[in-house]
Amino acid sequence: MSELIFEKHSRNDASWLPSLEMPEAALLGQIPQTHRRKMAPAIPSLSELDVVRHFTNLSKKNFSVDSHFYPLGSCTMKYNPKSLDAIAGLAGFSQIHPYQDEADAQGALRVLFEMQAFLSEITGMAEFTLQPAAGAHGELCGLLIVGAYHRSKKEKKTKVLIPDSAHGTNPATAALCGYEVVQVRTSAKGHVDVADLKAKLGDDVACFMMTNPNTLGLFEEDILEIARAVHAVDGLVYYDGANMNALLGICRPGDMGFDIVHLNLHKTFAVPHGSGGPGSGPVGVRKELIGFLPSPRILKKDGGFFFEKNAPQSIGKLRSFYGNFGAIIRSYAYIRALGREGLEAVSENAILNANYLKTRLKEIFDVPYDGFCMHEFVLSARRQKMKGVKALDIAKRLLDYGVHAPTVYFPLIVEEAMMIEPTETESKETLDEFVRVLFQIQKEIDEEPQKVLDAPSTTPVSRIDEVRAAREPNLRFRR
C-alpha cells in the first residue's frame, strides 16, 4: 500500500549508463585508501518499471491544481499554463551553464534584464533583483538592504514593526537580521491600527513590513498616511508581495510609498508550487536603494547584456549564481503571454471570484471583517465550533468532497480562521460547486456531525497522528 522504495526489490543494473572502460577494481585502486568509501550506501535496487510505478502511484495520492479546486488562502493556487513548462524545458534554457561566457548566453541575459524591467513597471519600483529563491529569501534580501541603508546614513535602528496579522516569515526574517520585532495591532475594521503604529514609531524603527491587501484580504486604505508616518522617522516601508495577485494594473506598491518590495513568482506569476518549491522571490527597490541590491546586477550596454559586479554598497550575494532561472523564465513567458490586458484581467477576476464566494458563504459562516474584499477573504468557523466542529474538521471534510482545504488558523487574529483564495483561473461553475459542498457540510454539522469529525475517509489515510510524529520522530527509513 504505502510501501517504501526501500521495501521493494528488483533487478537494476543501471544500464542507462555506459560501461566502464577499465575494470572497477583498477579504478578504485587509484583512489587513496583514506578517501575511499568503505560501506556502500543502502540505496534500494529497483528496475525502471518499478521506479516509474512507485512514483506514479505516489503522485496519485496528492491533491493538486491540475486535479482539484485548491482555494488555499495566501498561496494563490492558480492554474499553471503547460506552455511555461515546455518553455523552461527548451535546451537553450535548461541546458545552459551559469558560468558560460556572457556572449554565449545573451538570450538568457535578455530574459533576466527584461524581467527586471517588467516587474519594476508592474510594481512601480525603480529596479529589481531576481536573485532571491523564495519569498522568505526576498524578505532576507529586503531587510539586509534596510540595514545597509541605515548604516550608510550612520543611523542606528533596532526595531522592525510588523502587523499582528502578518506571515510568520516576517518576524523570523527580522530576527535573523538582528532586529527586535514589535507587533502592531489590527483595528476593529481589519486594518493596520494607525494610532497604534504611530505610538510605536520612533527613531529606533528601521522598517515597517506589511502586505497590501493584508492577510485578511482587505485593502489598507490608509497606506499613504502609513508610509508618510514611517518615512517621518526615516524608517523604510517593506512590501510583502504575497498578495500581489489582487493589484495587477489596479495600483502599485511603489506609488503607495513602499521602499522595498518582494514578489512571489510562484504565486502571482504562475510558477507552479512544485509540492513546496522551487519558487522565486525577486526584490524591487526605489531609486535611492539601487546600490544596495545583491550582486551581480544585469545591465544592458551597446545592445548587449552583461553582469555588473562592481557594487561597493551591495549587500552581497544571497545564493550561488543569479536566481531560480527556471522559475523566472516561466514568469517571463507568463507576462509576455498575458500582456497588460491579461494581467489586468487576472486581478479583476481574482477579486470578483473572491467577493462572489464571500457573498455566498456569508449565509453559513461568520465574517469577522465585512465589506468588499480583494483577492481573498477570511471566514470564521466559531459558529460551527459551538456545535463541536472546528475549522480543521471542515477542512478535512472538504477533502472527502474532492476540494483542497482552505488555509486554516491563519491569520492568527481570527478565531477558527478559514482563509479562502479562489484565484482568477476558476470558473463560476467551480465556485458554485464549492459553495454547494460547504452547504452540504453545514448540513452534516447540523444533522450528523460525527461524519465531519471522522473526516477524511476517502483519502489514502485518515487523520494523521501528528503528536506521535513529533514525540517519536521517525525521519528516515532504517532497516
Binding site: R37, L58, S275, G326, R468
Partner: protein, 459 residues
C-alpha cells in the same frame, strides 16, 4: 493569451449576486491617487506566438546539447534519464502546494521521507531535512546553526571553498556578531597544520568542502579531528555523486553535512532552481532549519507521513524560529530522489567511477601537451585545475570552434591565480570530446594570442 474561466455572462451574474454595480465598486477603497496609471507592457501573445518568440530567445544561448561542456564550479553537466522528468513533472507533483494538509499530500510526504532516507544513506548522516534553496545557502544556514548551537562566534572557512558559497555565508552572517576567517591553501588544498593555528575556544565551526572548488579532495578526517579537539562543530560540503566512491561525511565525523543537489537529476538551468541538501547528526536534530517529513500512523493505525517538528519553524515560532525559510525546493529534491532510486546502489558507484575515469583520463592527456602544467597533485574526483599559459578569450574562441564550452578561468575567482583553468569532466564527456579538447588546448598552448581580452563578470 488569458487563462480565465469566467464568461462575460458569469461575471454579470456574480456582480449581481454580490450586489455591486460594477467591478470598480469592489475596489472603491483604493485611493484615487493610486489609480492614475496604465501598465507599460508589451501586448499579450497567443501560445503559438509565445513559443516562436521564446524558442528564438533560447537559440541565442549556447547549450550543452550542442556543445561539450567542461564547465563545473558547482553545477555539472550530467545525463538525466527520461524517467526523472516524466515522473517529477506529473501535474500531481508540480501543481500541488507544500504538504500542510497531510491526508491530501501523502504522495509528496512519502517522497520527501524517501528523499530524506536516501540522502542520509548517501551522506551516512542521521537526519536530513526536506531540502534548502541551494548548496551555498545550505552552507550559510549550517554556519548559522553552528553559531546558535555553540554560542561561539568564529567560523573558519578554507579559501578552497566555492567563492560564491563564501560570499553567501558572509551575506547571511553580516547582521550577526560573528567573525569569518578564511584559511589559505597550498597545493590546491587546506593544510591542517595551518587550520590548527586559527582554532580557538571561540570557534563555532570549521567548514570544509571536498572535493573543493579546485576539485581537490581535502583531508577531511584530519580537519574533523582538529575541529572537534577545539570543541567546534565540523561542517562538510560535499558533491553527492562523489559519495558513490568517496568516504561520506558521517564516517569522518561531520556534525553537519550539506551540498548542492543539482548533480542529482536537475538540469543546469543557468544555475537554478536546484536544491541544497542539509543533514545533521542526531544531537542537532531540533536545531535543523526547514521542513522535515516524518513517519507516523493515521487514526486506524495505517502508516502515514506528515510534516513534523514544526515547532522549529517560522509559521509557528515566528521570530524565535531556527530559520526564516518557508518554501524549500521540493520538486528539485524529488528529482534527486527519483534519480538516486533509478541509479540504485550499483548505479551510483558506476556513475561515480565513470566521472572519476573520464576526468583522470582527460587530465592525463592534457598534461601531455606542451605548456600545460600541474596545478595540484592532490587526489581529485571529476574536476581538476591546470596551468595553461594563454589568453582566456582566445582560448575560448578556439574551444568554441571545436564545439566546446569551458573550462572555467580561475583568475575570475582568484585574481592571484593567473593561467589557472578548471575542468569538470562528467559521464557525458566522450573520447571524441576529449580529442577536440586536446586539439584546442594544443593549438593555443604557448604565448598568449594577440587578441583584445574580453571582460567577463565574476563575483
Amino acid at each position: 493569451m488569458q487563462y480565465i474561466s469566467n464568461t462575460e455572462q458569469d461575471k454579470k451574474e456574480m456582480l449581481g449576486a454580490i450586489g455591486a454595480g460594477s467591478f470598480e465598486a469592489l475596489i472603491a477603497k483604493v485611493p484615487r491617487a493610486l489609480r492614475n496609471f496604465k501598465l507599460g507592457l508589451p501586448a499579450g501573445l497567443s501560445e503559438l506566438e509565445l513559443m516562436r518568440e521564446l524558442e528564438g530567445l533560447s537559440r541565442q544561448n549556447k547549450h550543452s546539447n550542442d556543445y561539450a561542456s567542461y564547465l563545473g564550479g558547482g553545477n555539472y553537466d550530467h545525463f538525466i534519464p527520461a524517467v526523472v522528468n516524466a515522473l517529477a513533472h506529473r501535474g500531481e507533483f508540480i501543481t500541488s502546494y507544500t504538504p500542510y494538509q497531510g491526508e491530501a499530500s501523502q504522495g509528496t510526504l512519502q517522497s520527501i521521507y524517501e528523499y530524506q532516507s536516501l540522502i542520509c544513506e548517501l551522506t551516512a548522516m542521521d537526519v536530513s531535512n526536506a531540502s534548502m534553496y541551494d548548496g551555498a545557502s545550505s552552507l550559510a544556514e549550517a554556519a548559522l546553526l553552528a553559531l546558535r548551537a555553540t554560542g561561539r562566534r568564529r567560523i573558519l572557512v578554507p579559501a578552497t571553498t566555492h567563492p560564491e558559497y563564501r560570499q553567501v555565508m558572509r551575506t547571511y552572517l553580516s547582521c550577526l556578531d560573528a567573525e569569518i576567517i578564511e584559511l589559505p591553501f597550498s597545493n590546491g588544498a587546506t593544510d591542517p597544520g595551518v587550520l590548527k593555528k586559527f582554532l580557538n575556544a571561540d570557534t563555532a565551526a570549521v567548514v570544509a568542502q571536498s572535493p573543493n572548488f579546485f576539485g581537490v579532495l581535502e583531508d577531511m578526517r584530519s580537519i574533523s579531528d582538529l575541529c572537534h579537539n577545539a570543541g567546534a562543530l565540523f561542517i562538510a560540503s560535499v558533491n553527492p555523486i562523489s559519495l558513490g566512491i568517496l568516504e561520506p561525511p558521517g564516517e569522518y565525523g561531520a556534525d553537519i553535512a550539506v551540498g548542492e543537489g543539482q548533480p542529482l537529476g536537475n538540469p543546469l538551468s543557468f544555475g537554478g532552481p536546484h536544491f541544497g541538501f542539509f543533514t545533521v547528526k542526531e544531537a542537532l536534530l531540533r536545531k535543523i532549519p526547514g521542513r522535515i517529513a516524518g513517519l507516523t500512523v493515521d487514526r486506524t493505525g495505517r502508516r502515514a507521513f506528515v510534516l513534523t517538528l514544526q515547532a522549529r519553524e517560522q509559521h509557528i515560532r515566528r521570530e524565535k524560529a531556527t530559520s526564516n525559510i518557508c518554501t524549500n525546493h521540493s520538486l528539485c529534491a524529488l528529482k534527486g530522489a527519483i534519480y538516486l532510486t533509478l541509479l540504485g546502489r550499483e548505479g551510483l558507484k558506476k556513475l561515480a567511477l565513470l566521472n572519476f575515469q573520464n576526468a583522470h583520463r582527460a587530465r592525463e592527456r592534457l598534461l601531455k601537451i606542451k605548456g600545460v602544467r600541474v596545478f595540484s597533485d592532490g587526489p581529485f574526483f571529476n574536476e581538476f585545475a591546470l596551468h595553461i599559459k594563454k589568453n582566456p578569450a582566445a582560448f575560448r574562441a578556439d574551444l568554441l570552434r571545436e564545439k566546446i564550452l569551458g573550462p572555467l578561468t580561475l583568475s575570475e575567482f582568484y585574481p592571484d591565480l593567473p593561467d589557472g583553468f578548471l575542468f569538470a569532466v562528467t559521464e557525458n564527456r566522450t573520447r571524441w570530446d576529449e580529442d577536440r579538447l586536446t586539439r584546442a588546448v594544443g593549438e593555443t598552448a604557448g604565448p598568449a594570442a594577440k587578441k583584445e581580452p574580453r571582460v567577463r563578470a565574476h563575483f
